[in-house]
């Protein structure tokens, strides 16, 4: 109903059209409508008057025709033989518009009926009676005239009994209205035609006159339109009636004022533009400096990462190698453990720094896959529980039974965040408890809404400190209270959670503990296949001994890798740069070449390319090793012809997998 009311009515449309039309248009439309109405009215009135006259004439004529027939009908009615009036009837019917004739005797019996006299004759005419011819009935199509037929008796003064005319019957003549209607239409259309012609002439005259009268107004309107389009120097010409001239003068004054304002504005704009240009140039310089600085920072970080990882690689590698020696004492084993854990911590630090740098540079990509939530929570808890229990804390896991079993997420990053938050909680809680809860909060279009919460009864954080908490290298509390750590954990966690579509929040009070939580909406995932079971340590491989050349310019790294391979039962040969590696290949014809990318004399990429170039399809497969393990570095290596790529520091399991794949080996396990 409301829509219906709001819909544009024809009258509303007309009203809008009317308002939007020009003065001349409105004048012409009003005059045209009036004249057309007048033409129509005059046509109707004139044809109505004409119809009255024509009708009177035709009725009189009909009465005369009926009387004439009545005068000729006595014999037929006296003799009751219609043949005696045949000629008269024929003559009557030949009269224009006469469409029917009827003769009736005095008792109302029809003696003769010809033409369209209609069925019910008596109903229309009544019984015959003396009198004058009359119009007995009228229908839409015809008039019915009745004239009595009498035997005339001469009035004689000699007759004592006055004789009456004897009624013999009557005649009925039906006169069609064809002529009336024809004449009516003719009069109407002729009159309408003349009126319309006059109306057209008048309207043309009116339009001409209106155009003469409204020309100054139209010109002024045109000038205003030009001014509106922004044409410069527009001035109205003073012409036409005085009121229009006054309007033109007012318009010119307005234009002058507007021009003055416009010029002033232009001046301001020019000044502003100059200022903006200067600032833009300054900013451009600042931006370029910042970019150079940023690039230098990235480069520095990458170089530092490489520089730090290389010795660390050796430390960790040797620690791993030594721990494989079964003849070590318990103390030696513990020392090696400390070396390895410290090295790993250092590596974590480096990785954290790089992570943060990558996240801030927008280079981190969330790699989603199926995640078993319960297993994730359990594995995270297993890691943290040991440390918590070491400190005498109660560690509580609270998982929602309604948690979906599998969701799509980046398990590694999620685990990283949870371990970080839990690690912090354990770290800053001296007594009491640490609780990890995972809650399912329903579904929406994006998937399951999950809330992860880490609650502790630790030192708590002041509101002021909470504000700085997520800044890199920040730790809450006084310096003497600070625990060991990089101070990057929360910053990284927050960034990662943001990348996953949530945010880490904190609620805390000094002395009563803290709550860190984040909420994520994660799509549901199908259950993945069963995970492979943990495998026992490798002691060698089946089949003949294989030969491997290891190329690395850093001796510690090279020796560590060589030692690792020898323990697995390979025949290992060393090279300190790319050239030496090529020489060794020619010399010993190895089954595989493990080669560092960055080397003096000839780097790994070039050596790989040369090797393929020299020996073609007989070249041994090359696996490149590098601390720069980005996807771009990897692609570069593969493009040079390497079959695989290992990041530094080399992980034992990863190395086993690559060797098994490239050399088609089956490991022997303890």
């Amino acid at each position: 109903m409301m829509r219906f009311l709001r819909s544009p009515w024809p009258s509303a449309l007309f009203s809008r059209e009317w308002r939007e039309s020009s003065f001349r248009g409105q004048l012409s439309a009003a005059a045209t409508a009036g004249i057309l109405l007048l033409a129509l009215l005059s046509s109707v009135v004139s044809s109505w008057m004409a119809s009255r006259q024509v009708r009177a004439t035709l009725v009189e004529q009909g009465q005369r025709v009926a009387q004439s027939l009545a005068n000729q009908a006595p014999l037929a009615l006296i003799s009751l033989a219609h043949e005696n009036a045949a000629e008269a009837v024929r003559a009557t019917l030949a009269f224009p518009d006469v469409i029917g004739v009827e003769l009736r005797s005095a008792d109302g019996q029809v003696l003769l009926a010809q033409g369209a006299v209609g069925a019910d004759t008596t109903g229309l005419a009544g019984r015959p009676a003396l009198g004058e011819p009359r119009l007995a009935a009228e229908t839409d199509d015809a008039w019915h005239f009745v004239a009595p037929v009498v035997a005339q008796r001469n009035a004689s003064p000699f007759e004592v009994i006055e004789s009456q005319n004897e009624l013999l019957g009557d005649v009925r003549v039906v006169l069609g209205k064809g002529t009336l209607n024809r004449m009516l239409a003719q009069v109407f259309f002729t009159s309408l035609g003349i009126s319309l012609l006059l109306a057209v002439v008048f309207v043309v005259l009116l339009r001409w006159l209106a155009s003469r009268l409204t020309r100054p107004l139209t010109e002024l309107s045109g000038t205003m339109a030009r001014a509106e389009r922004g044409e410069p120097g527009v001035h109205a010409v003073l012409s036409g009636p005085s009121d229009i001239q006054q309007m033109a003068r007012a318009f010119n004054r307005m234009i002058d004022a507007q021009n003055a304002r416009g010029e002033e504005l232009q001046r301001h704009r020019d000044q502003l533009e100059a200022a903006v240009l200067a600032r833009t140039a300054e900013l451009q310089v600042a931006k370029e400096r910042a970019e150079v600085a940023s690039a230098a920072k990235s480069e520095f970080l990458a170089r530092m990462s490489h520089e730090l990882r290389t010795p660390l690689n050796a430390v960790l590698g040797y620690a791993q190698i030594l721990r494989m020696d079964e003849g070590l004492t318990g103390r030696q084993q513990a020392g090696l453990g400390i070396i390895q854990s410290s090295g790993e911590h250092l590596l974590t630090l480096i990785v954290d720094i790089l992570d943060l740098a990558r996240i801030e540079a927008g280079k981190t990509v969330i790699d989603s896959g199926p995640v078993d939530l319960t297993a994730l929570v359990r594995s995270v808890a297993d890691i943290v529980r040991v440390k918590a229990e070491e400190k005498g804390l109660v560690f509580v896991i609270d998982t929602d039974p309604a948690l979906p079993t599998h969701v799509l997420s980046d398990e590694k990053r999620l685990r990283q965040v949870l371990i970080n938050l839990l690690g912090n909680a354990v770290k800053f809680t001296q007594q009491g408890h640490v609780t990890l809860s995972a809650r399912h909060q329903g579904h929406d279009a994006g998937g399951a809404k999950l809330r992860f919460e880490v609650r502790d009864s630790g030192v708590g954080i002041s509101a002021e400190a909470a504000q700085r908490l997520f800044q890199p290298f920040e730790q809450a509390g006084e310096s003497h209270q600070r625990a060991a750590g990089t101070g990057l954990g929360l910053a990284i966690s927050r960034q990662l959670v943001r990348l996953m579509g949530g945010d880490v929040q904190v609620q805390s009070q000094l002395g009563t503990g803290s709550v860190f939580w984040f909420e994520l909406t994660l799509p549901l995932a199908a259950r993945p296949g069963p995970l492979p079971a943990a495998t026992p340590a490798v002691r060698g491989y089946d089949g003949p001994m294989r030969r491997i050349v290891v190329a690395d310019d850093v001796a510690a790294n090279r020796l560590m890798l060589c030692e690792m391979l020898r323990r697995l039962g390979f025949d290992v040969h060393e090279a300190a740069d790319g050239q030496q590696a090529l020489d060794q290949v020619r010399l010993v014809q190895p089954d595989l070449l493990l080669m560092d990318v960055r080397m003096p004399v000839m780097d790994g990429l070039e050596a790989t390319a040369r090797l393929l170039q020299d020996t073609g399809t007989h070249a041994p497969p090359v696996v490149l090793v590098s601390a720069n393990a980005s996807p771009a570095d990897r692609d570069k290596g593969l493009a040079a012809g390497a079959v695989d790529f290992l990041p530094k520091p080399v992980e034992h399991e990863q190395l086993l997998a690559v060797l098994a794949k490239q050399l088609r080996l089956t490991w022997r396990r303890a």
Binding site: N154, F158, E159, V160, I161, E162, L168
Partner: protein, 307 residues
Amino acid sequence: MGALGLWTLTAGLPSWAADGQPLAVVYPDIGEPFRSVFASIVEGIREQARQAVPGFGVGADTPIPALVDELRKREIRVVIALGRSGLKVAEALDRSVGVVAGCVLAVPEAQAQAFTVHSLAPDPALIFAQLRRMLPTARRVWAVHDPQQNAWLMRLAQEAARPLGLELTAQEAGDLQRATKAYQDIIAAAEPQRDVLWLPQDSTTVEEATLLPLVLQEAWRRKFAVISSNAQHVRRGALFALYPDNPAMGRSLAQSAFDTLANAKRTAHGLLPLRDVLLAANQRTAAHLGVDLDPRDQRIAKLYPES
């Protein structure tokens, strides 16, 4: 008289002495052609009376009681009442005043019994006698009449026909259609020379406009004679007609008035046929029927076609 709106009528009549006259004539005051008829009748009356006879014209708006008073004042003893208007005045008069009615047709029985009424209908005996003279072969006479108007005349006609060796067949018709039917029958049965159709003065059966031409036409075609009591019919084709001789009729009326004056009690009342008649004949019809008609015959007052 002037006060009463009466006036001495026709220009031909002198102004009469107003007093001491026992006779007066009352007549319709109407236009021509009847004015001349009444004038000649009144002239005949005056001729016969040899004295001044006051005449009173009666128009449509004449107050009859005033006229009656006037007649009484004048001590009129016998009134000659002419036409329908005259008869109306006569009816309003005292019984002591004698009335001689004339110039009337179809008088109702009651009125006929009250006065001596001289009808305009020619005496059938005169008609038949003329027929015998002109058409000796005639044997049968047909007439169609409205009994309300002419029953008395047909009775006289029956009486008159027999001695002349004629057989009258009078058919009654109350309206035009019956009359038409009767004429059709007569025309179908009529034999030339022998049969004659007589048209009496009858407004019901003798319709001038439609029927008469047909009858005359058929009679011409079948060669039988039509006789009439109207001279106009002769002009249209009837063989002959007897029609009133107005001055003579006036004289007869005056004589009848004197008779009434002299011997009122013994004067016979009732309808009298017209005996003062003239003859009109059509020589063309006569020739067609083989009738020997002498144009120089003095008895023929009007001869048609007029030369």
